[in-house]
Symmetry: C3
Subunit: 664 residues, 3 copies
Amino acid sequence: MKVTPPYFGAAYYPEAWPVEQIDDDIALMKQAGMNVMRIGEFAWSSMEPAEGAFDFAWLHHVVDKLAAAGIGTILCTPTCTPPAWLAEKYPEILIIDDAGRQIGHGGRRHACPNSPVYRDHCARIVTKTAGEFGQDANLVGWQIDNEVHPHGQPPGRGCFCPVCKQKFRDGLRAKFGTIGKLNAAWGTNLWSQAYQSFDQLHGPVRGAWHHQSLYAAYTLFQGDSYVEFCHQQADILHRLTRQPVGTDMMPTTLVSYERMNRTLDVVQHNHYHDMPNLWQSAMWFDYSRPVKPVPFWNTETSTCWNGSHTANRYRESGFCRANSWIPVALGGEAVLYWLWRSHWSGQELMHGSVVSSAGRPLHMFAEVQEIAAGFKAAADFITRTRPAQPKLAMHLSNWAQTVFESQGIVEGFDYRTRVVESFYHPIIQAQYRLDVIDAAAPLTPYALLVSPYLVSLEEAALRDRLLAWIEAGGTWIAGPWTDVRDLHAAKYRHAPFGSIEDWAGIYCKQQIPGIPRDFAIRWADGTMSRSQLWCDGFELRQSGVESLADYTEGELAGLSAVAARKVGKGRIIVLGTQPDAAALQGIIAHLAKATGVVPVGDASENLLVVPRKGPAGEGQIVVEHEHKPATLTLPRAATDLLTGKSVPAGRVEIEPYGVKVLKY
Amino acid sequence: MKVTPPYFGAAYYPEAWPVEQIDDDIALMKQAGMNVMRIGEFAWSSMEPAEGAFDFAWLHHVVDKLAAAGIGTILCTPTCTPPAWLAEKYPEILIIDDAGRQIGHGGRRHACPNSPVYRDHCARIVTKTAGEFGQDANLVGWQIDNEVHPHGQPPGRGCFCPVCKQKFRDGLRAKFGTIGKLNAAWGTNLWSQAYQSFDQLHGPVRGAWHHQSLYAAYTLFQGDSYVEFCHQQADILHRLTRQPVGTDMMPTTLVSYERMNRTLDVVQHNHYHDMPNLWQSAMWFDYSRPVKPVPFWNTETSTCWNGSHTANRYRESGFCRANSWIPVALGGEAVLYWLWRSHWSGQELMHGSVVSSAGRPLHMFAEVQEIAAGFKAAADFITRTRPAQPKLAMHLSNWAQTVFESQGIVEGFDYRTRVVESFYHPIIQAQYRLDVIDAAAPLTPYALLVSPYLVSLEEAALRDRLLAWIEAGGTWIAGPWTDVRDLHAAKYRHAPFGSIEDWAGIYCKQQIPGIPRDFAIRWADGTMSRSQLWCDGFELRQSGVESLADYTEGELAGLSAVAARKVGKGRIIVLGTQPDAAALQGIIAHLAKATGVVPVGDASENLLVVPRKGPAGEGQIVVEHEHKPATLTLPRAATDLLTGKSVPAGRVEIEPYGVKVLKY
Amino acid sequence: MKVTPPYFGAAYYPEAWPVEQIDDDIALMKQAGMNVMRIGEFAWSSMEPAEGAFDFAWLHHVVDKLAAAGIGTILCTPTCTPPAWLAEKYPEILIIDDAGRQIGHGGRRHACPNSPVYRDHCARIVTKTAGEFGQDANLVGWQIDNEVHPHGQPPGRGCFCPVCKQKFRDGLRAKFGTIGKLNAAWGTNLWSQAYQSFDQLHGPVRGAWHHQSLYAAYTLFQGDSYVEFCHQQADILHRLTRQPVGTDMMPTTLVSYERMNRTLDVVQHNHYHDMPNLWQSAMWFDYSRPVKPVPFWNTETSTCWNGSHTANRYRESGFCRANSWIPVALGGEAVLYWLWRSHWSGQELMHGSVVSSAGRPLHMFAEVQEIAAGFKAAADFITRTRPAQPKLAMHLSNWAQTVFESQGIVEGFDYRTRVVESFYHPIIQAQYRLDVIDAAAPLTPYALLVSPYLVSLEEAALRDRLLAWIEAGGTWIAGPWTDVRDLHAAKYRHAPFGSIEDWAGIYCKQQIPGIPRDFAIRWADGTMSRSQLWCDGFELRQSGVESLADYTEGELAGLSAVAARKVGKGRIIVLGTQPDAAALQGIIAHLAKATGVVPVGDASENLLVVPRKGPAGEGQIVVEHEHKPATLTLPRAATDLLTGKSVPAGRVEIEPYGVKVLKY
């Protein structure tokens, strides 16, 4: 059997069902048009019912049965849910929260990623599983664990067990060498926080008002513990199998996508966006795509509603179609729903699925069939074209998220929400295509780079790389709140910015919070807007710097809100305040000549338009994502591969949640 | 002395006051027209000031003084508040919450119902008290403990002490025999939750995401622990006294009323409904009445405002009258206020009462006197007539409450709120009288049965009993969300329902959450309404099944929302969605011919109308409960026993919170 | 060097910055016009880097450098932030919260004020510091610790360590002698709460429903622990230095201002009021002024925004001016901002300051310079005149706050909010000047005294002192909710009040909560208003008592809402309900003839008008505090010392946040 992309399927939990039911399930999977199932995710206790006693027969049976029906398997390591015998015999593997409570068996993600005992047991089950299935031709890939993330919510997030405590201290000792250097870097003289030894350090807990550097360091440590945890499994899998290995992650930046995926083979992304925010899912796919040269996988998404505790956020007809095509349009090659068949017991009983726990197709089953048919009809175009490489990129930073979490700008500021709503949204509404990149990503592919709230340029030696890129011709839109902290979450002392003033030839004269009051701004073309979020007011100090917008009232009157300057062959634009959508779109349009960044098409702002090109030809995939009618001006006549009908150049109407695969 | 019902009085705490004050109190009680006091509720430390040293002299003095004034006593066992010496010497009796914290002395309900040490001390104080007062002719009854309920809120409700842990495990071991059977019944293969031994089980705690079966099992265990706890006291009292024994419970179904009262003599019910929801109190009396053949007691209610921490929910003039007559109208024989005299120290200082802590009658004292006079004037009618046995019943289930608590239907769903608002309210507004019954109650008295959200038919062998009752002629309105879980809180795997599809000859084609969107429904008579809460869409599959209402839009268009079928001599009506009030009333009216269930009178929907009949004659008691004017069409001329005036047949006006005892 | 008041400066943390930066800072301080810096507040670990190893050289350097520039120092004891080595070596000093969790190093205020080990270390560092600087002529004063207050929030506030537990028990043993007396005073027979020994007592914790007397006693104990803690330091400082000693406190009454300041030399007050509630700051200065005969210090306030975690509550231009002049107008002699230079690391990074962490003046720097110039220009008038002694006083009680915290009147009642909004605000809007006094304060300076919600007259023997003062001619406006509890938070049993009925010749016939419904009131002059908060309805029982206002509806109709009676040469007015602003102003105006209390001027209600008189002449300081235009009728021609211009008598316009120092 050889299953080829696009992969279309769901998460399947055969361990929870009578073995004989598989035939019914497979018949329904075939009806649905699926060609891949993701299994094993939480099945440790079925694979190793007692310590050292392994049972893979049932799993071979499932994989073989699926294969016989032409359905490939994505096999998961089951390490997210250690069995009861493991927690009982080795309670030291259990996470201890910041209140000192051990998180017991009976849920998931309750083992400490740093526990050596847990790691040994994980290594063994992964080794055994890889030994069993590593050469199985029916596997299309591996998933490590599931949605790794630190336990709990800040303040007091992560594990606080003795192993973590020691490892945190050792990590800081290795990083700083002497406690004096930590004190100096963190600035611990305030509040007599200075440490005399690394052994005095502990993680930040609720009920105390801790130091920002401590918060940031602990969050980083906990996130990186999961990177290390997954990489240990990846090493085993890489030794024992040739199928691609990844780990499915949720839309969070607290565990670094970049460091996690560096040594993995395929980016696996889970999301549960619903009707009001479906458009946001595009940002995460634009973030997943540049990480690897190979297509990413959308390993989990909802068919119709969520249901961890209650059935919630029901999505209307058509949603499933749009939701399934967005990742494919944006460069993915796999779409898997969570879940195939609703659970009949345990947690998440109320969750939407493809078929019910009684094996009945849900209301959107025909839509699933239509999606499958579409993937099949357009398979060649999907797999042998790729989205055009954008010349525009936007930064999304794990470190910025970490710092802002304990130290927001103004009340209510949420880093990820602002990035996606205030930057990503206006950009895609104006039909620009972009890569969303980590601070560590190379800049060479891009002509225009936007760095909103990129709190530090010290990540991944970005400061030097960035300047070199600008001098070589790149255009950088910086801020607001960019280059204002170092890698200890501390401020610079010589200026509000690390380098921006120098580079842009400006002097930040005033800094005023953007709420409760805002300030009027006049743009170079005379249009007016209002400040948002934060207000840096600049003086122009060096030759060549110009103001794109000035404040016109209050203490800021006369200062520049947006300054621009040529630097080498490139240029830098510094945002002193959050521009509104029109102003941000205006700035990018204003730079079109210098950057070559232009809209990919003339279309409604609720339409995702993705030009594609490759050996299979050229064209575009368009997806309506706001449940409203849309229009598109098609530049050339094309064939819609989903209907087989030809579409003349010119105005095209797209129905709500409509999808077209338009090949010229 | 022989005090006869109706009993009218209050909770009295003489242990908190100077002994000589009792004469003043009794004089005021006589002015108020009261004939019973409830005492001893929390007085353990006054009864047993040191371990093994008992003092009942003061209590005899109180009981005797009251008796001398013609006032009977309801004597309470004081076990809700163990003395300081008990908690100090035997700290193992204290509840341990799910965070591992021991709940110390200084409040109430802080001892574990399963602690053998606590149980022994309880048995001793109850035995001693019963020995002292068991043959005292001045007692009219006993109350065991006070408002038993598990500690805390979910998740993590109940006690987690070592005794509870062991008892929970032992209970499951006794129930399942082998751990394999528990694993199979609970479906623990998901998330590797499978247990290798009963000793791995622990109660569900905050901070972990536990299995629904575990939540349900622990809640059931904790609730039944209080049943066992109270029954132990009841056994002692039954040995040593002949007065009726009960325990006063609050409007909660988490401790089973049915199992608790099975071996008790009188249902005792506390409630604190206020102006906006006074009508809801009727449901709890309609629930209390069918449990026992003898009249229930309303052991606690508020005169004018609540005040656990602040004076709140003030009730205006007239409320006390309506609130006091509702239980009597519905078949109770006792109304006791909480409390007689406001506390002068300690907790609940701000609570409304009959007289203030300074011994001054509160503003509604004249109303209390009027109520007393009314009870006296109508005593013969009250005690020698009973509410007519309704042919209509509605289920209210402890198990459904337990399951829904950890696994709601949609966000915001609250089982008890929906039952009382969406079912009970429309029913009583249309002037139907009904019994509200536990799943264990016999069905033979009824012609029509409504089972809203009755999550399992496996309670009390209901499935078989129900089918037999239907086949014998009963009409059953099922759902929504009825027969969808078993007694492990798990789903059926063969179908969404256990039996309903078979019985009704339907096939549930679609299931869609009822929020955020709803769907139009057309009823058989052409009227339109909207779906609520949840939408099951049925196909009619068997002969004889008809659709009473069809969905007319969306994915559900054309499917039946309400299906009906004759079954044997009876019939079943399945609600696929929550009907609105008018639709529910319409269904019941539509069934009048088949069931004989008709309104008890022609009256405003804000009027409670209770027909009564018995040796003392025939008539009706009516109570206005929404603080608005009401009208009633009196079928026959009557005498209002409260005024002595005759009332001609025809239209009668009732003032806000007005009460009439109309004897034909 | 001799720095003279008014003191103008900021909090300065040189320990957090490179030593060489001080010259830049001092240059900016001089530009700002400042003459004092407050330093050392949290610098313990810099003063004593290891146990017993002291380093004051850096601090001498700072003090000397400042002095050389003409800037005096307020030196703080650093005890709020014990060093890491102290917490590590002696973990028994750490606070244990009510959940049993030890609060570790890494924040502030984490040591128990009762820990003898902590106290010893505090005594040593204070002794050492005083030894170093006690005779330093460059110091203008001392601050003990910082913003002392019990840990956490109720219920469960304070420390629960073994030392606290024992001290709490010992304190009650010393107070009551026998446990029987405690039981009798607290009324512990309810709920079997009676104690057999003092060793059974523990502090009130979350998760239990505790006794009001226990809550109140523990809150009092914890607050007084901080008084004792500070006094221990004051004793050392008084031995070793002659500069004035104080402790900077926040607007809370849970640590008694009165008992704390009794043995200190200068009242130090911190506040962070912002634009919507700037007027409230006046109450705290009117509260600070009468405590000592010497001018108080405003030790902390914000220049432009707060920022513990995010930049919040930005204040617009002019705020800093008004905010800085209010304390000076009301009798203070020091205004210090928090903080001089924004932190570059650690906590509170986002807080507004005078200069940024990069050393750049913030936008309101010119305003600061203007304030400095104004203080200088008006220095003689500021320091050699004082606000006229008001004949009006209002009570603000620590005990009332303590009692109401666990036992409110109605839902949402907050003692301090109601005092400032319902009493203080109408009074100052009508241009009355007043002292806000503790229950312990002498009454002799006053002709009119208002005691809102003064829950007990037993504080500081007030009952006798008050009656004597009334009989000698004082006029007392009592209530609502005054004289209703004793010093155990218990009620009186003979009447709702301790003495008020006797004194006023009234009988409280009804008491009804003021929400949800209110009642109409007719005043003696025929005007109507509505009851608020609570309704006592009085009968007039003795000769000489008259009703100033009667209820006209509901159960209260015909009863008096406000009763008045001559008592000796004085009179008592009892408020049975909360009057609205106009009614309260009307009562005070009505009493003008009897009390001589009249408005200090004819001015807009948004203008603070403070008449001043002294060796330096006579005049008034006026400050607009609502950011709106104001007018003033100037009785005599004057010179505005801030502009040097003469201002003729008659109508004067004041701009938003405008300030004038008008010397006749």
